[in-house]
């Protein structure tokens, strides 16, 4: 079993009456609600938390891309990942991912991912989401019916740019380039592992199975409601004759650990409420632009993560419901061990994407939950999928070949630069011990 400590980076300071006063946390949320000074603190807190997860031995740390919203403040996850390459050592960097249909030309993604792979010494997981309808259609203006064709074309271009030895011309429908000649090239060969996050579009299962990509099911409805999607995925894998390898599936689950079950409720209940009632408060008209989901997916009855359907399912839920219905796995380490093990077996999932900073949760609670999980839950779940090979994690450079940041020459932090001298640093001194 592998663990990715995943951050959404929510804005933690939406007003109490947010849900009553404003129609949406996404797309047209008033800009005046964002305080950049608080934002400065939040970005730094959140990067600290991801770095802490690296120190605590999580296999990977994760970031993702969303636009014009208070649910997740990463219009550019690549900036976050770049910052993380410098102070993390072991954890892989799961960028889940870049909405490749939005980049023009899409080789921008190939370039930035290659940079991240090189900067991190080959620790990158490249995620290719289609992107939510809010992000792609409403914020970035892509015609809904074009999002999937643009996505597939961008995918083909990026893959070819990573793997072709020679410069080539690309005559796509949406992108035409006379010279595709990627500098730098990624460290990982033939390319960084690719994970495809999905919310339940049936086409995504075929796409993952056909390309041997990892399918990351991003649900906030927990493992019980996630079963239908997981079964759909495994059915497609079986039909296509693919191995039922649990590592080919990732699942996002909200998890919170405390000393006891009762203490967990006291610690985390208000923050769950903030998450489900403020962070996911998306106006129904933005949830699913016409043409964003295919008719095939609509007819398969796949319910969306946001919008009216989702809000109705969450209506009036209290802590006990969140726990009983599996939205959240929380409690003492013993409770979390047992339920999480069941959940992962239930879904046949090998890559848990664990959401530990949720909604308005402050840094001290995030640290406590993360530490308890790392010490008292994670080690007991490592044995879960014996006999399966994880083909979807990065192959970084050996530790001896990886370069770490040099020690800072000055530690006084004076902003004027007075008295600073450039300390000569040999490349040997930079090498990780």
């Amino acid at each position: 079993m592998k663990f990715t400590w995943f951050h959404l980076m929510p804005y933690r300071f939406l007003p109490e009456d947010f849900k009553d006063k404003y129609r949406s946390v996404w797309v047209d949320i008033p800009r005046k609600l964002y305080d950049p000074k608080l934002g400065h603190k939040l970005y730094n807190d959140y990067l600290d938390q991801l770095e802490f997860a690296d120190q605590m031995g999580f296999d990977a740390i994760g970031v993702n891309e969303h636009h014009q919203n208070a649910y997740g403040m990463m219009p550019s996850p690549n900036l976050m990942a770049a910052a993380l390459t410098r102070r993390t050592r072991n954890a892989n960097l799961v960028v889940l991912g870049n909405s490749i249909a939005l980049y023009n030309p899409p080789i921008r993604v190939a370039e930035e991912f290659a940079m991240l792979d090189v900067m991190s010494g080959g620790r990158l997981v490249a995620g290719f989401p289609v992107g939510t309808s809010m992000d792609t259609n409403f914020c970035y203006g892509v015609i809904p019916a074009e999002i999937r064709p643009r996505y597939y074309e961008a995918h083909d271009l990026i893959l070819k740019s990573w793997t072709e030895e020679e410069s080539f011309a690309f005559d796509g429908k949406y992108t035409k380039l006379r010279y595709v000649n990627l500098w730098p090239r990624p460290i990982q060969k033939p390319h960084p592992p690719i994970w495809i996050p999905g919310g339940g579009s049936v086409e995504t299962w075929d796409f993952c199975a056909d390309h041997d990509y990892q399918y990351s099911f991003l649900s906030f409805f927990g493992y019980i409601q996630g079963k239908k999607i997981a079964d759909g995925y495994w059915d497609v894998m079986a039909k296509k004759g693919r191995e039922a390898n649990p590592y080919s599936m990732g699942f996002a689950q909200v998890v919170a650990v405390s000393e006891t079950d009762e203490q967990a409720e006291r610690d985390y209940a208000p923050h769950m409420d903030y998450f489900y009632n403020r962070c996911l408060h998306v106006y129904n008209g933005f949830a699913d632009a016409p043409g964003y989901r295919t008719v095939k997916t609509i007819k398969a009855g796949m319910l969306g993560q946001v919008g009216k359907d989702a809000a109705i399912r969450r209506e009036g839920l209290k802590w006990k419901n969140f726990i009983d219905e599996g939205y959240v796995i929380a409690g003492s380490p013993a409770t979390v061990r047992q339920r999480l093990r069941e959940a992962m077996q239930h879904l046949r999932c090998g890559h848990l994407m664990i959401l530990m900073q949720i909604g308005s949760m402050p840094p001290e609670l995030v640290r406590k939950s993360t530490e308890l999980f790392a010490r008292e839950v994670m080690p007991h779940m490592r044995d879960l999928w014996p006999g399966f090979k994880d083909k979807w994690s990065p192959n970084p450079l050996p530790a001896g070949e990886r370069v770490m940041p040099a020690a800072l020459s000055l530690s006084n932090g004076k902003p004027d630069g007075a008295g600073r001298t450039a300390a000569p640093v040999s490349s040997e001194a930079r090498t990780a011990k």
Partner: protein, 259 residues
Amino acid sequence: MNTTQYLCDGKFSIEMQVHGTGEPLLFIHGAGGFTGFDPFLEALGAKFKVVAPHFPGYGASTGAEHIDDVFDAVLILNELMDTMGIHAAHVVGHSMGGMIAAELAAFDSHRVKKLVLAAPAGFWLDQYPIPDFFAAQLDEIGPLLFHDPKSAAATLMTSIPSEWSAIEAMYVERVKRLATASKFLWPIPDRGLKKRAYRISAPTLILWGDSDRLIPPPYAKEFLSHIRNSRLHTIKEAGHMLMYEQQEAFVKAVTDFLS
């Protein structure tokens, strides 16, 4: 009468209503498409041979996957006219259909005898932003589209069926239609018509409902100023769906202009 035309070796099938005899009148519907209760078509058939196709992606018409933009739309309508042996016709377009009709007239001025643009899309004015029709929910659509959201015409268009299967069918059809419409209208219904409108030489009637809240009346002036041989007729107590809300006034204005 309902009939189907097959175009481009079957790449497109176009289902259409045909009413009456006389000079051909091509009617191009708006983003929502026909409702199944469109009596103004038959009424226009009293004087003209009305040809009212469902655009690809609407009703039983197929081939939407081959349409990317307004140029494809114009070409497929040219193809339809050729296939039906219509060299030139009066063209009446509503909303998105008005935008496509204007493009058709600009593309080949000889094909369009007279042009009627009923609350056409196609322009964008920063001082009069058009509400986001695609994000609007069913309970918000009535007030956007109708002078009187409680009228029979409005109720017919915005009521929710009671059977689950009918709701699903309605939802799927709406998605199919608007997914096609989004190719011309998303995220802003401006594909450069302003640049091409000087090519429209057909006598043009611009029709507007005086309480259109989707594309407000200032847009009428914009069309007037860009189409040289044009005049404006405003219909009272009509919203964006003027031919549904004030059918008689609509049919009379169109018939008088074309006769």
